[in-house]
């Protein structure tokens, strides 16, 4: 018996090796990276001046807030869910933090009598907004047993409505919240230098969060439970995993990330309006699926999500750079989502 099961293991590992040695399978495994490289090469061929550190850091810093948002959404997709509210939560958190951090000398401040606040306070308020909404989402999924699509469709509208009310200034109507405090802007848009290379702080923030998230996903009980619940909720339940608690925790983390992303994004743009964050959730979901986070749950990696975000950002930036009609860019984005995900699912298709 021992011998037999050993042979079986060998047979399996042989099978695995065989598929690994297969060049096509190898290509499939790295398809995303290959797509990204091909796009970069394509852009460089059309305009060689694209190769510059400046362009590189620009793409990364534009991708940073998107990446933070996408890493929050990714956990929910791993749990077989999704999040339509991420963009609007980011927007609301951003609007509120902007309103609390307008320059005291700016003429049309939302709160004219507000003293200069320490930066940490609006950041914490932004995170609190993210957390409250995310916990409502989590409660809907874990306790009310709603599909994440439904509950987040609802909270998306609630967050949007609240943002509109918050920003509305009758009789003038909604005004953009601009004139942000210098400390706030430089916290986000500032950079430090390594030699002659300028590294925006924003990239550092995103990188630190990515490392923390990768750590949570791979090294902690919460991460392992998240993958187990996403892969087979019933198996997790009969093994004694507290499903409700773990789902709530994953949502809680997503809320923290949305809050941080909202706080950073508004400073990056320089002002906040009611459309801040609009459709960001769709980009985040797109980045996740491009990056190999499976909609059927239980599968995904943080590096994958980051690559997904960068691919999307590259499409915006790189195609702009070579002067592709922006309307075409939207079409290309759609095609990339379809092509990359259909290549990615090849990995898991069992051929008969």
């Amino acid at each position: 018996m021992k011998k037999e099961s050993k042979e079986k293991v060998e047979e399996i590992s042989k099978g695995l090796n065989k598929s690994k040695s297969n060049i096509l399978d190898k290509l499939l495994n790295y398809a995303l990276y290959i797509i990204l490289v091909i796009m970069i090469i394509g852009v460089i061929i059309i305009d060689p001046s694209f190769i510059s550190i400046k362009n590189f850091t620009n793409i990364l810093s534009q991708a940073s807030t998107r990446a933070i948002l996408a890493m929050g959404v990714a956990g929910l997709i791993v749990l077989q869910g999704t999040d339509l509210s991420a963009g609007r939560i980011l927007g609301l958190a951003g609007i509120v933090s902007a309103s609390l951090l307008q320059d005291i000398n700016y003429t049309s401040r939302m709160y004219p009598d507000l003293p200069q606040l320490p930066l940490i306070l609006p950041l914490l308020i932004a995170i609190a907004i993210g957390v409250i909404f995310a916990l409502i989402n989590g409660f809907g999924v874990a306790k009310l047993k709603l599909h994440a699509f439904i509950i987040t469709l609802g909270t998306q509208l609630i967050a949007y409505g609240m943002a509109l009310i918050y920003i509305d200034r009758p009789p003038l109507g909604a005004q953009p919240i601009a004139g942000l405090d210098d400390r706030y802007v430089s916290l986000v848009k500032g950079a430090f230098k390594i030699g002659t290379v300028e590294i925006p702080y924003l990239i550092v923030y995103a990188a630190v969060i990515a490392i923390i998230m990768a750590f949570i996903w791979n090294k902690t009980t919460l991460g392992k439970n998240m993958f187990a619940i996403g892969g087979n909720p019933e198996a997790a339940a009969v093994s004694g995993v507290n499903i409700t608690k773990n789902i709530m925790l994953v949502y809680l983390i997503s809320g923290i990330l949305y809050g941080i992303a909202g706080f950073l994004e508004v400073a990056r743009i320089g002002s906040a309006t009611s459309i801040t964050g609009q459709n960001y959730e769709l980009d985040a979901i797109a980045a996740c699926v491009i990056g190999g986070v499976s909609f059927s749950g239980g599968v995904g990696t943080i590096p994958g999500v980051l690559i997904g975000v960068i691919i999307l950002q590259f499409i915006n930036y790189g195609l702009n750079f070579i002067g592709v009609n922006p309307y075409f860019q939207i079409i290309i984005k759609g095609l990339i989502i379809i092509v990359s995900v259909s290549i990615d699912v090849r990995k898991n298709i069992v051929r008969k």
């Binding site: 018996m1 021992k2 037999e4 099961s5 050993k6 079986k8 293991v9 399996i12 590992s13 099978g15 695995l16 090294k219 902690t220 009980t221 991460g223 392992k224 439970n225 993958f227 187990a228 892969g231 087979n232 019933e234 198996a235 997790a236 339940a237 009969v238 093994s239 004694g240 995993v241 507290n242 239980g298 599968v299 051929r351 008969k352």
Partner: protein, 499 residues
């Protein structure tokens, strides 16, 4: 008061679901260091009783004593922490993760805030070594065969240091050798003082492994006896509540002319079948035997066109047929009853009527609009003709017992009026009484001129109802023989031919 003698005592347990009294005053007692078999037809309440023990259901009334102490687990976690563990009938596993992630699910060891992977590996390895399982704990579960997954699940249950280990149909996907291995493990645990509750439909197995047997029927306790005082017939008659003189119905079908010829069939995506050739006659039941992984299912799938072949041909009535997909196969007169009823057979939440007519749906359409009356008539044919026990045609099929679900699915295929019926493990997880009915049905179908190919892991039923048996060995044909010239030993020899 009874804590000295009984490891587990369940007293007067009752549990009802809307419209069903699932358990009615059941008493069940397990002694330390024994294997206690729990038998009964599907729907007799075995799984419900175990789910009450394990904290998945809460009993309506009654008491549970573990080592003499009154307990009632609010959830599976509490049960596991108190030494009650369970291998579930449906393997509850996370296929995307590796073995050790699965084994330690719900109790990952930690080093600070980090999960201690090394400890996980060592723990899993030691459990595997202890049980003589030779699989690398780092392999992704989805890459294992079903039988290996089953062994992993058993190892997991054992690893909780269980005092009570519940095994619900643990051998349904194991080969005989693997079953032997499992029995060794069970005996090891029994000798360490565990109480093992063993649920199975395989009565030979029960008599082989258990010390005591409790029989349940219709949610009630019927009898508890020493295994050595029991026989197969006695257990069966206790289970069904009447004398069952024969396990197999009389064979009245007579094979006639050849209807199906399969020549040199080879699967396109290996590992699959290789160079398989055979003939099937009208009115014949051709059994297909083989070990798990011998590609029996692939054989059926290739004939039915849901798996592609690179070489070979299929002839029906001497004419070449090209089953390029299942729709073509159905049109050509083939039907496939799939192995995993739950995954690929039933539409769980949908009605008996939907499940009956779905394979034949085109024939009810008038310009795309379905004829409800005709569907009702055909569904009653299925229900009456196959003796399906269901409250109504609108009942979701998932609420019926396994045997009744299987009858509906057989009925579904009969409505397409096939010439060749491919049946993959049609009696898996089905109770004895219902099995007899399924055998009867298969023989009737053959008698009415259908050709039946019947894949099964239970050699006794192949020998009992087939005319000839084809033995698969590692994707090839180990041999084809008349059933009356074969016995279990000869089948095993043929099955091992190309290993």
């Amino acid at each position: 008061m009874s804590g000295e003698t009984y490891l587990l005592e369940m007293r007067n347990i009752s549990k009802s679901f809307p419209g069903v009294q699932a358990l009615d005053n059941v008493n069940f007692r397990v002694k330390r260091g024994t294997v206690h078999a729990l038998v009964g037809e599907n729907g007799a309440g075995k799984s419900t009783l175990m789910k009450c023990l394990f904290g998945i259901y809460k009993e309506d009334s009654g008491e549970i004593y573990l080592e003499g102490v009154k307990t009632s687990f609010p959830n599976p976690r509490a049960a596991l922490e108190n030494g009650v563990s369970m291998v579930h009938q449906e393997l509850n596993q996370v296929l995307q993760r590796n073995i050790m992630d699965n084994i330690l699910l719900g109790r990952y060891p930690r080093k600070g805030i980090v999960v201690d992977e090394k400890k996980m590996y060592d723990f899993t390895k030691s459990i595997f070594d202890d049980l003589g399982i030779n699989i690398d704990p780092r392999v992704k579960l989805g890459d294992l065969s079903v039988s290996q997954r089953q062994m992993v699940e058993i190892a997991k249950a054992v690893s909780y240091d269980a005092k009570i280990l519940v095994l619900d149909e643990p051998t349904s996907s194991l080969t005989q050798q693997e079953t032997e291995h499992l029995f060794k493990i069970i005996k090891l645990l029994r000798d360490r003082g565990c109480g093992i509750i063993y649920i199975s439909h395989k009565i030979e197995e029960i008599l082989n492994i258990s010390d005591e047997v409790t029989v349940m029927r219709d949610g009630q306790w019927i009898a508890t006896e020493n295994a050595k005082d029991l026989t197969t017939d006695k257990i069966i008659s206790l289970m069904v509540g009447r004398e069952l003189t024969n396990r197999f119905p009389p064979k009245i079908n007579k094979p006639k002319d050849v209807i199906l010829e399969v020549k040199n069939l080879t699967g396109k995506y290996q590992p699959s079948i290789q160079n398989v050739s055979f003939e099937l006659r009208k009115g014949e039941i051709l059994g297909v035997a083989g070990l798990v992984g011998s590609r029996r299912t692939e054989l059926l799938e290739t004939i039915f066109g849901i798996a592609s072949h690179s070489e070979g041909e299929i002839l029906l009535h001497g004419k070449l047929v090209d089953n390029k997909d299942s729709a073509t196969a159905i049109k050509n007169g083939f039907a496939l009853l799939t192995e995993e009823r739950r995954a690929t057979g039933i539409f769980e939440g949908l009605s008996v009527r939907f499940n009956s007519v779905i394979a034949n749906i085109d024939s009810y359409a008038n310009f795309g609009v379905l004829d409800g009356k005709k569907m009702k008539v055909d569904t009653s044919k299925v229900i009456e003709g196959l003796n399906v026990k269901t409250p109504s045609q609108n009942t979701p099929i998932g609420t019926l017992s396994g045997g009744n679900q299987q009858k509906v699915i057989i009925g579904r295929w009969l409505l397409t009026d096939p010439e060749v019926l491919l049946m993959d493990e049609p009696t898996r997880g089905i109770d004895v009484g219902a099995k007899y009915e399924i055998y009867q049905l298969i023989i009737d179908l053959a008698n009415r001129g259908k050709g039946v190919i019947f894949v099964s892991s239970e050699m006794s039923e192949l020998l009992g109802i087939c005319d000839r048996i084809l033995v698969m060995s590692n994707g090839r044909i180990g041999g084809i023989e008349d059933a009356d010239k074969l016995d279990q030993e000869k089948i095993m020899t043929l099955a091992a031919k190309y290993l």
